[in-house]
Assembly symmetry: C2
């Protein structure tokens, strides 16, 4: 994959004219989201790379304070603790931060990170943003306490460090295997360090973090020979020491095992910068060595090839527009291309959901599936711009995960091959259905459907037994029952869609019926989605503004969740009393006076516009619902409001957790002018563009151009739309129309066109009105 992508870039390069604007790769600012609550990381990674080599400014957080350091780095922190090799991009919960490396200069090597408030108290160092640089695949910083210049780059399974030590001082590296993100006491189960005769340092760590019993292996090679080393166990209370191996009286061992290990590596005085190349593996230490060998080249070579990979990946979309929006959208595209990340070794082996080693035969196994977030826009975006390279791998990874899952269901929130049981639903189903219906192939579709059905019928999971019996999840049996009922019903619809396409009519009929289960939890009288008891009654007391963990809703309330019927918004709107009442309720949501509400107890609630909460996913499709109600112009206003307030090309430029690309994919689609409200319908609902011009360079070689004539802050309304020169009266695009290539031309104006899209026939797919199409 890697070499083919690179080749494409190299072949394309001579034909490109000298650009007037920065290259896409130079328009990305990885610092966006590293402040505020974006939880992105600024370090070096390749597209979908296994390695995310990035600075950690603090890992010593207490339980609640961990949240802010979910990606290790916070823009406002004054010190760097070290550089570790694994990070999530925008997760709410966290883990990772594996294999922390910190360079040290001089004679005294410090073994504790020290207090950030007391400079010099440990190995951490101050830094400032003036001496820091972040680009796709590259990060550099000067550590002010030691004067060491640190540079990081990464390939698919390798990270490379380059350290320039002050002249005349001894060079050391400290590796702290105790360091980790969300490092609750007892998280580190076991770890090991091995110095091989050829000077390769290998090791592993096993943690009981977010993913229980996760194993990670590594291999490191150095550009200069080791002068000396020490492997030390910092466990202060070891009940079981075992017998002493070779090296008695010295810490220069070939092997050290324990729960609190550090390695001190001494290189003496160096004439040239020290390069450290590190490979990871989820399989074993030999796998890490093989991954290291599979990506040859020094720091500059890896940096150059990864830059070329990023240029190729970002080249999927050409964007013209003012620099701020261009930076925001290219960075969003960059953030959309980080997960699901590579998890199999170069030889195809990977550690699966059963903690056993399997081999991905003819594909690359991916993990880091934040599916409750990413089924919405992140996966449809990948399916559109990377159908072969990514989505087919994704589907195969999901289906093989189901095969090897102890519960035999598709991933819910998986990373490093392991299930975490975070969030709700079986949203791998719409991801697979959307990909298959969009023409993605390369997997056994019937086996995939079987895996989807297995997940949707596994009684022990999330109240599914009750759901299948009653048609809704009862809140006295299962928490977050209201959210589960509507999300299951949507997932069920996606299964029916795929079954219909495969001619599996029995499955289709069964799941089409389940797709209507959202009605069983909807209180038509009050107009709210509500949790029902097993008696059938709605639970009281009921407060549509309440947000609590373990309540009737998942990270949200009735205001957000009452809109979640992507498969049948028309059916919902009829229950609400028709278009006008629906538009009024949508307006009430956006215009809600939230000044007296306090949601600070709920970590993921950020980016509020009334009761619309852009910082979390349940709201993400809501602005587009005006289109389903015949008022696209109102959607255009709301989208301007959201883009204008929730995204900025600055470190605090994301309104909430990026959630492995979902927040960013929303911006990519929205800036192009359309959005996948109902993945599986294979329709994109038209909003309004935010770029003067955009071109999708599709993998089939075709180009789909989007033009926004007259776009300006005042020209915020869509006056007319043409597709390939012909007026487009409907308010959605079919994915086949995009894939065919062509031109979507918006004419923007200062006045709302209330006629366009108002008719019933113009509206996007809804099960009860459109049926199969």
């Amino acid at each position: 994959m890697r070499s083919l992508a690179l080749l494409a870039v190299l072949l394309a390069a001579p034909a490109l004219a000298q650009p007037a604007v920065p290259e896409p790769v130079d328009s990305v600012d990885p610092m966006i989201g590293t402040g505020g609550e974006g939880h992105t990381f600024p370090g070096a990674t390749a597209p979908f790379g296994m390695v995310q080599l990035s600075p950690d400014t603090d890992t010593s957080c207490e339980i609640r304070a961990c949240y802010g350091h979910a990606a290790g780095y916070r823009y406002e922190d004054p010190t760097i603790q070290g550089f570790s090799h694994t990070h999530f991009s925008g997760a709410g919960h966290s883990d990772f931060g594996d294999l922390l490396v910190m360079p040290q200069a001089g004679s005294a090597v410090k073994l504790e990170p020290g207090d950030p408030k007391q400079p010099g108290s440990g190995y951490r160092s101050r830094f400032d943003h003036a001496h820091e640089q972040a680009r796709p695949g590259y990060y550099a910083v000067t550590l002010s306490d030691s004067g060491i210049k640190a540079e990081l780059t990464a390939g698919t399974r390798v990270g490379v460090h380059r350290y320039r030590f002050p002249a005349g001082q001894d060079a050391h590296l400290l590796i702290d295997l105790r360091s980790s993100l969300y490092n609750y006491p007892g998280k580190i189960l076991w770890s090991g360090l091995h110095l091989r005769p050829d000077g390769t340092l290998t090791g592993f760590r096993e943690t009981r973090g977010w993913a229980p019993g996760r194993k990670l292996y590594f291999a490191m090679r150095f550009s200069a020979p080791l002068a000396d080393h020490a492997f030390v166990d910092r466990d202060e209370a070891i009940p079981y020491k075992g017998f002493q191996g070779p090296g008695r009286g010295s810490d220069a061992l070939a092997e050290k095992l324990g729960k609190a290990l550090e390695a001190r590596l001494d290189f003496g005085r160096l004439a040239a910068p020290l390069e450290v190349k590190v490979a990871l593996s989820g399989v074993d230490e030999d796998g890490a060595v093989a991954n290291l060998v599979a990506e040859p080249g020094d720091f500059d070579a890896i940096r150059a090839s990864t830059r070329a990979e990023w240029a190729a990946a970002l080249g999927a979309v050409e964007l013209d527009g003012p620099a701020p929006i261009r930076t925001s959208v290219y960075t969003a595209l960059y953030h959309s291309l980080l997960a699901p990340s590579v998890w199999s070794d170069a030889d195809g082996r990977y550690r699966g959901p059963d903690d056993q080693v399997h081999r991905a035969d003819g594909y690359t196994f991916r993990s880091t599936f934040s599916l409750w977030d990413t089924f919405r826009a992140e996966h449809p975006l990948l399916t559109l711009i990377q159908p072969e390279r990514t989505s087919s791998d994704v589907v195969r990874s999901l289906v093989d995960s189901q095969r090897f899952s102890p519960d035999h269901i598709l991933p819910v929130w998986q990373f490093a091959g392991r299930e975490t049981w975070t969030m709700i639903g079986y949203h791998a189903a719409p991801v697979i259905a959307d990909a298959y219906l969009a023409g993605v192939r390369g997997f056994d579709a019937n086996a995939a459907l079987d895996a989807m059905v297995a997940s949707a019928t596994y009684a022990p999971y999330g109240g599914l037994g009750e759901y299948m019996k009653r048609g809704y999840v009862p809140i006295d049996k299962e928490p977050e029952a209201a959210s589960k009922t509507v999300e299951y019903a949507y997932d069920d619809w996606s299964i029916a869609r795929m079954a219909r396409a495969l001619g599996r009519e029995d499955v289709a009929a069964r799941f089409e019926k389940r797709a209507g289960n959202w009605r069983n939890s909807f209180d038509a009288k009050s107009g709210w989605l509500r949790a029902r008891l097993s008696t059938g009654a709605f639970r009281t007391p009921f407060d549509p503004t309440a947000i609590n963990y373990g309540s009737d809703y998942t990270e949200g309330n009735a205001w957000q969740y009452s809109w979640f019927v992507p498969q049948d918004q028309a059916g919902l709107f009829r229950l609400l009393g028709g278009d006008a009442k629906t538009v009024a309720k949508l307006d009430a949501m956006f215009d809600y006076d939230n000044s007296k509400l306090d949601y600070s107890h709920a970590e993921d609630i950020a980016g509020l516009i009334g009761q619309y909460i852009h910082g979390n996913e349940p709201s993400h499709h809501v602005a587009y619902l005006y289109v389903y109600a015949g008022a696209p112009w109102r959607a255009q206003e709301r989208l301007a409001q959201i883009v204008g307030t929730q995204y900025k090309p600055t470190p605090d430029g994301l309104a909430g957790n990026d959630d492995l690309g979902q927040m960013s994919a929303w911006l990519v689609f929205t800036s192009l002018g359309f959005y996948p409200v109902a993945p599986g319908s294979n329709e994109f609902v038209i909003g309004r563009p935010f770029l003067d011009r955009a071109v999708l360079n599709l993998p089939n070689g075709r180009r789909f151009t989007i033009l926004a004539d007259g776009l300006s802050p005042t020209n915020r309304y869509v006056s007319t739309v043409t597709l390939n020169g012909r007026p487009l009266e409907r308010t959605y695009l079919r994915d086949s129309e995009i894939r065919a290539g062509g031109e979507l031309r918006f004419t923007m104006g200062p006045v709302a066109n209330r006629a366009w899209g108002a008719g019933k026939g113009a509206r996007p797919y809804s099960l009860s009105t459109s049926g199969p199409r």
Copy 2:
């Protein structure tokens, strides 16, 4: 291997006449050594089986009290806690006791073992020896508290339980993954349970016991369907709980991970006995399932095939003599055939010293190498009676272990593929040399020699750097320096022997020189082996009776260690002043008045005859040294003294730890009339027989018969010896003479024949007198 051995037995069976005496397999009493300090286990195992399924009477021991329960079972204990699947036979230190299963009857299932002093306080049960039976491959006991009859059998990689529950009571099994031998706090690092859709229960446990970070996987199948189950985590202080998986509100999960797991399995009321078949694997859970499938058959089938395997293995030696000695020696032979045990899976994969999975190509990987003990007689015995089936596997396992060792040296004390760094020396060297020089093939001899040299020259190990520099290990740099110096010198000699045979003259010369290093630690003035300082002076104060851990000697003192020059006893005796002074010193050792000595602080010191300590290995060759001093008759007296006092056909019938067969192999050889004093010389020193008749059924199809005419308690002296009818004047046999088949005939008498073997030319190999032969 298994099926071939079985076939051989089946083919042989019809030709056998009805025996007048019990079959060898019925002469074995596995209870021998389960009392006293033998540390053997009474449970079920196949020859060299991976599974040792045996009752544990107590696992809740404190650190020092653990010693007595090194094999889980003590004959004098009143209760059984459960049946676990892994045990060492006779180890001094311990570990194992994996996967404890306990049946329970009735409605209330207990989750804690309870206090042995308070019957009914937990799931442990009382039992009595009248309702207990132990045979090779079979164990049965009635649990008096519940009335459940438990039977155990085992194949190579499987154990099978059969439980008869009292009529009308519900049947349950409790699996306690917290239970372990030498269960220091913090030993259990991680564990898991998986219930597969087909009803197979799989799981794993990772421990930081004797072998750090040891992983064991298992798979279990049941003859009756599971009615219900619960996986529970008994960890009372879990800092990191993680998210909840499917099965919320119930413990009937598909998966449970944690550090203190138990499984409750409910079968309801059963009409037939419940059979539980369990396979182990060091690789992964799928490996355990495959191992389960690889050995088909129910309890009775496995029991029968393992009985046939034992009959074949024990058939290597036919023994005629009075029942007590016959029972002792057949049981000793049985104990000699337990380790090194199978560690690779049925498909050849195994977890090696680097904790990575490798594949044994064309052989079966063995582990449980107690080499400091077993190089003496256990391995020479296996090389004699099982050269292909065992010793070639053993050598390949040792050499591959060196290849994958983090330190790239041969095993020291290895089990489950992992190094424990217990005891001293590189005694894999004489094991390999002795096997190669005895004609064992099937391995790359030059690669094996390279591995031996690598081990003998690895400076960080056990003071070897100093040893290579000075010719002795200085006690101020390294503990147990006196013992290390002499043991290294012997190992060096074995390397020289093998190098000479391979034509590697440079290696041979170098190590023949090192073979003389024992002289550098020998105080010729006092006649003692003593520890020297790096200044060259002997360390003072010096007490030849002192036994302490970390002292100048390894589990011994100058009395025992001053005799350790197996490669050059003649050289030693010259230093001692000649034959007469040597015999006097040997007599002084045996006749020493030890009534005022207290060695109770040293765990392994048992079986004292003066300063001769038969319960520990450094003394094992000493009685035979009279032969080297020209006084075979005196050896004959001492051997009668030892056999008569140190072995009994009773539970307390072993004088000390059996040490994975070494104590037993000593008896097998000694009872036949000869002993391998210097493995690598390929000579057996003649003592005296203790059986009327014995036949070695050699694997090459030849028979070597040993007859003891006139043997009786008073006829304790060897009057004459003939080999194949010709008088044998020398006091040793060559291994080639045994392998050729033939007849060794002793004529026993009441009076010592002081002439036989007195001449210099009659004596066994010594480097300085015999040179290479």
